[in-house]
Subunit: 241 residues, 2 copies
C-alpha cells in the first residue's frame, strides 16, 4: 500500500523532510493535500486532524503507513529510516541518527521563530520589530552554533568525509541538506558569509543534492518552491548586508 | 554500570524529564553535575560538551549509558523506555509514545519562549515587552490547544482512564505530568482557570504524582525546585488575573 503524506499543500515546511526521505527511498506515496478530489486536498488534511481515532496527531506532517498514523517529523523519519535503510540497523547508530534529526528540528524551530517570534497566529507584519531583533540574535549566535556543530560532527566522525552517521546516507543527512537549503533561501547574505567556514557541511549538502533520486526530485514539479509562507521565508530586512 | 546524567545542576529544566524516567525505572544513576569532585560538577558537563568523540551532543541533557552517549531529551527517553519497560514493546506503541513525547517537547519549547522570545542569551529583563506579548498569545491560544490535545488523547484512548498509550505507564505520562507541574508553577492563575476543562488530564497527573517511586522522588532532595532560572519560571506580570 502506498504511503499517504498529509501536509500543507503549498509550502515545503516540515513536510519536506518527509518528502525527501520518501523520494530517496523510492517508495510509492501520495501527497494527499496536493491532490484534488473528494478524498484529497487540504480538506482531507483537516479531516485527518479532527478524526476521532486513538492516536490523533497534534499537527502535520502526518504519515499513514498501512495501519499506523504517525505524526511528528522526527518520528516519521525514524520509522521510514528503519523500514527503508535510511538509518543504521544497530541501536547506537539509530539513536545517533535520531539525535541528529532532533537537533535539526530545533534549528528549524528557531528559523521559524525568526519571522514569528510572538505568535504563529499573527502575520509577520504584526511582529516585524520583534522579528528583526530575534533574527539579529539568531544570525549572530545561533546559526553559527548549529552550523559549527554539524561541521564538527563531520570532522569527528569515524569515517570522515562521508555522511553524518558514517559511510552511508541516513535521513539525518537529507534533513541537514534541507535545513541548509532553506537557510540559503531565507538568509542568502548571512549564509554566503557563513558557509565558507563549514567546508565539510557544504560538501555534504552537495553530495545529497546530487544523489540521483534527490536530483531528479529537486528538478521535478513535486518539489515545492519556497515563498512568503512557511518556515523558510526571505525577508530582506531580516538578512542585512 | 550506573547511568550518568549530565545536566545543569540548579534547574529542573529538560533534565527533569530524564530524571523522572530514571526514578520510575528505579535504576542506578549519577546526576554528575550535582556532585562535587574532580570528575563532577558543572565542569564535568562542560568537558563533556566539548569532548572530541564521534557523537558530540549539541546541548544537555546527555545520558551516558554504558558505551552510548545519548543527547536530546526525547531520544534519551526512547532509549530508557525501551530498556526499562517505560514504553510499549510493539512498534505501534513505541511510535505513538515517541510522538506524544515530541509534542510535549514542542510545548516545553513554547513555554521557554514565553519568557525568552528574542534570545536565550539575553536576560528576561532585556525582553520583557516581547515576553508579555508572547505570553498573552501562548495563554490565549497555544496552552488550551496543547491541554485540549492531551485531554482528547485520553478521551479517545482504547483504554480510557488509564495512561496516554494504554493501560500501562510510559515515559510520555511522566513527561506530561512534568510539563503540567511546571506550567502550574509558571502560570498559576492561567492554570487554575484552564485546568477544570481537562479532568482526564488532571487525573492522569495525579496518578503519576502518587506513584510510589515518583512520590518518594518528589519528596526527596533529589527533586530540584523551580526558580528564576530554567524553563518554568514564574513572572507574575506574564500571568495576569
Amino acid at each position: 500500500m502506498a504511503y499517504e503524506l498529509y501536509y500543507w499543500p503549498t509550502i515545503p515546511g516540515r513536510g519536506e523532510f518527509v518528502r525527501l526521505a520518501l523520494e530517496e527511498s523510492a517508495v510509492e506515496y501520495v501527497d494527499v493535500a496536493r491532490r484534488s478530489g473528494a478524498d484529497a486536498g487540504v480538506q482531507a488534511l483537516m479531516r485527518l486532524l479532527a478524526q476521532a481515532g486513538p492516536h490523533p496527531p497534534f499537527a502535520p506532517p502526518v504519515l499513514r503507513a498501512d495501519k499506523l498514523l504517525i505524526a511528528q517529523t522526527a518520528n516519521i523519519l525514524a520509522y521510514l529510516g528503519a523500514h527503508h535503510g535510511l538509518a543504521p540497523a544497530d541501536e547506537a547508530g539509530r539513536v545517533w541518527t535520531n539525535q541528529l534529526q532532533l537537533t535539526v528540528a530545533d534549528l528549524v524551530d528557531e528559523v521559524h521563530d525568526t519571522h514569528h517570534p510572538i505568535a504563529s497566529a499573527l502575520y509577520y507584519e504584526e511582529q516585524r520589530t520583534e522579528a528583526a531583533r530575534r533574527s539579529e540574535h539568531f544570525l549572530a549566535s545561533r546559526l553559527p552554533k548549529y552550523l559549527g556543530y554539524f561541521e564538527r560532527v563531520l570532522e569527528q566522525a569515524p569515517a570522515p568525509g562521508a555522511y553524518l552517521a558514517g559511510g552511508s546516507l541516513t535521513y539525518a543527512d537529507l534533513s541537514v541538506f534541507q535545513a541548509i537549503d532553506g537557510l540559503e533561501y531565507a538568509f542568502p547574505r548571512a549564509m554566503s558569509r557563513e558557509s565558507p567556514r563549514y567546508p565539510r557541511l557544504t560538501a555534504l549538502c552537495e553530495r545529497v543534492r546530487t544523489r540521483p533520486r534527490i536530483a531528479a526530485y529537486l528538478a521535478s514539479p513535486r518539489r515545492l518552491q519556497y515563498g512568503e509562507q512557511g518556515i523558510f521565508r526571505h525577508y530582506p530586512e531580516l538578512d542585512p548586508a
